[in-house]
Each structure stands twice: as structure tokens, then as C-alpha cells.
Amino acid sequence: MCETCGCGLPEEAKHAHEDHGHDHPHREEARLYRSLLEANEAQARENREHLLEHRVLAVNLMSGPGSGKTSLIETLAGFTAGRWRLGVIEGDLATDRDAARVRALGLPVHQVTTGSTCHLDAAMVHGALHALPLEDLDLLVVENVGNLVCPGLYDLGCHLNGVLLSVTEGDDKVAKYPVAFRHAQFFCITKTDLLPHVDFDVERPKREARLLKGDLKVFACSSRVPGSLDGFAAYLEGERKALLG
């Protein structure tokens, strides 16, 4: 039996492992432990550096459909007007409806239509970065595809990742959809103007989110209540200063 591979060939068979001179087939187990996310993560690192070189703070917004990501961007645009130059990447399975809303505000926006893919990835964001005037931006908001599960696994190369949960979705959703929260730096509980009409204990998602991510920043806001985004906008301003000076 061959001492190298244990293949049981007779001794006279040609069998030189050292020069890869096999002339008989044999089985071999290749141990690899190679991450399937590594290509995405390498692209994400490149995106982050590229954005940093252009002095742009990039923010990835993740949530289920209809939690108020686009409304948050619209409100933020009003808040930052004249102070920061805001650009947007919109990710959707279909239509450019969100991009049209953002474009109507006069902001540079690039639509990524993902077709059957339920999340943005770093390569899609890389393509979008080349379509935006980065030298004219201070803040880039990436609105991920409306989905609270899949986007959590894909680093886009943003400096901050945030999750939105609206009060109409229920206060039990953090523990039910934990993946996105683990990779988030901030968490916005949205549509708080509707709290009198729904059974939603604001403390419950805060508590559960901090179990998943101890240092998560939590904000409660409503795009319909003037001033309720002040805390969130101040947070972004602080993060931008910390990153870019």
C-alpha cells in the first residue's frame, strides 16, 4: 500500500507523489476553511478606503420594507441643507420610485436595481460609487433593499450601519431578526408619532438590541415630528468629525 495516500496499489505501479506523477486515480480530501464572504469583504474594505479618500462619511440603512428609510433620508436632507452635501444610493428589487423621491429634492442619487437579489453587496455599491460625484459630497446614505434578514450579512463598505424598525411592525422584532442588529452601530425606532395607536413598548426593542450589540446607539424618531431627528443628525455629525476631523 502506498504510504503517502494509502491507495492500495501494487508496488510496481508508477507512483511518484513528490513530482505529482500519478497515473492512477485516488481520492483526496482538501481542507480549505475559506470564507465565502471574503470577496465581498475585500471589496467592502476598498469601498471604505475610497470613500475616506474623498472625505465622505457613508451610512448603510437596513430595515424591512416600509419602515421609513426613504422618509428618513428626505428629512435628513432638509436638516443638512446648506451644511452637508448629501448623496444617496438607492437599492430596490424593482422600480426607481425611491430614487425619484430623492431626486425630487435635488440630491445626487444612483439607483441599483437588484432584480432577484434581496440585498445590496459591496460590488454593487462599488459600481454606484463611480456613478456619483464623490468630490462634491460630505455624506452618502445607502438605502439597502427592504429586507431585515439578508442585508445584515453583507458589508457594503459603509462607515456606519443602521437598522430602522417602525412602531407599526411590533416591538418583538429585534429578537426575531437579529442578524442585521449585530452589525449595526445605530438603531432608529421610527414613526413614533403613531405610538398612541399601537401596542409598542419602546423599551423592549432597545433592551433586546443592546443584548445583541452592547454599544448600539438607539434613537426614537418620527419624520413627521419637527426636531425629532435632531439627536440622530447630531450623532452623524459627531461620527463624521471623529472619522474625518
Binding site: 500519478h22 486515480p25 480549505l32 470564507s35
Partner: protein, 118 residues
């Protein structure tokens, strides 16, 4: 269904590794799915069955192992293995433990036929 994107990455990576080693056939592909990825093994298997059609992996079924979460407490330093998401330290109660493993999806290995026609 991010399982589809992962299955496509899996087929590409496995074919790349098999070709690099000069394998003449792939018998089996094995992956390790970290619990924190939220990947559903049954969906990954179905997605893989679609993604491998017309590739050199047509005869290579997928073996999936779900890896539990191993995390270390930043307070008391204790390491714990979790079967779920609640990552507060069971010893001191501190939340937000450092995850050591269980948050990745790995191509663990390939069962290959070497030589023969090569």
C-alpha cells in the same frame, strides 16, 4: 434569500479550488455555516443544487455543518458556546460579547479525485 448569492459564491470558489489542485472530479463539497449568519441550511442546499447545474460539481452533493457561536465576555473573560443569539455572558450578565466563531460561512473542504485522466 441570500442563500442564492452564497450558493453562487460556493460553486465558484469550489470549482476554483478543485482546478487549482488539478482534481479530475469532485465527489463532495462540505461547508460550515455559522449560526449567526442566519443562513437556512435547507435553503442553501436547494440553492446549491440549482447553482451547480452545468458545472463540474454536478456529481458533488453538499454536506452542511452548522457551527455554534463561541463568544468571549469583555468583562470576566469567560468563553461560552451559544446555540442562539442572546450573547449576554451567562457568568456575569454583561451583554455584547466578542464573537470568536459562528458568524461566517466557510468552504470547509472538498472530496476530490486526483490523477487518473490528469
Amino acid at each position: 434569500m441570500h442563500e442564492w448569492s452564497l450558493a453562487c459564491a460556493l460553486v465558484k470558489t469550489a470549482e476554483e479550488e478543485a482546478a487549482r489542485r488539478g482534481a479530475s472530479r469532485v465527489f463532495e463539497v462540505s461547508v460550515s455555516v455559522g449560526f449567526l449568519t442566519g443562513v437556512v441550511p435547507e435553503l442553501l442546499e436547494r440553492a446549491y443544487d440549482m447553482a451547480r447545474q452545468g458545472t463540474s460539481l454536478e456529481g458533488a452533493p453538499l454536506r452542511i455543518e452548522v457551527a455554534p457561536v463561541r463568544a468571549r465576555c469583555g468583562g470576566c473573560g469567560r468563553e461560552t458556546v451559544f446555540e442562539g443569539y442572546a450573547l449576554a455572558c451567562p457568568a456575569c450578565g454583561r451583554p455584547g460579547m466578542e464573537v470568536l466563531s459562528g458568524d461566517d460561512i466557510l468552504l470547509r473542504g472538498l472530496d476530490l479525485e486526483m490523477g487518473g485522466s490528469a
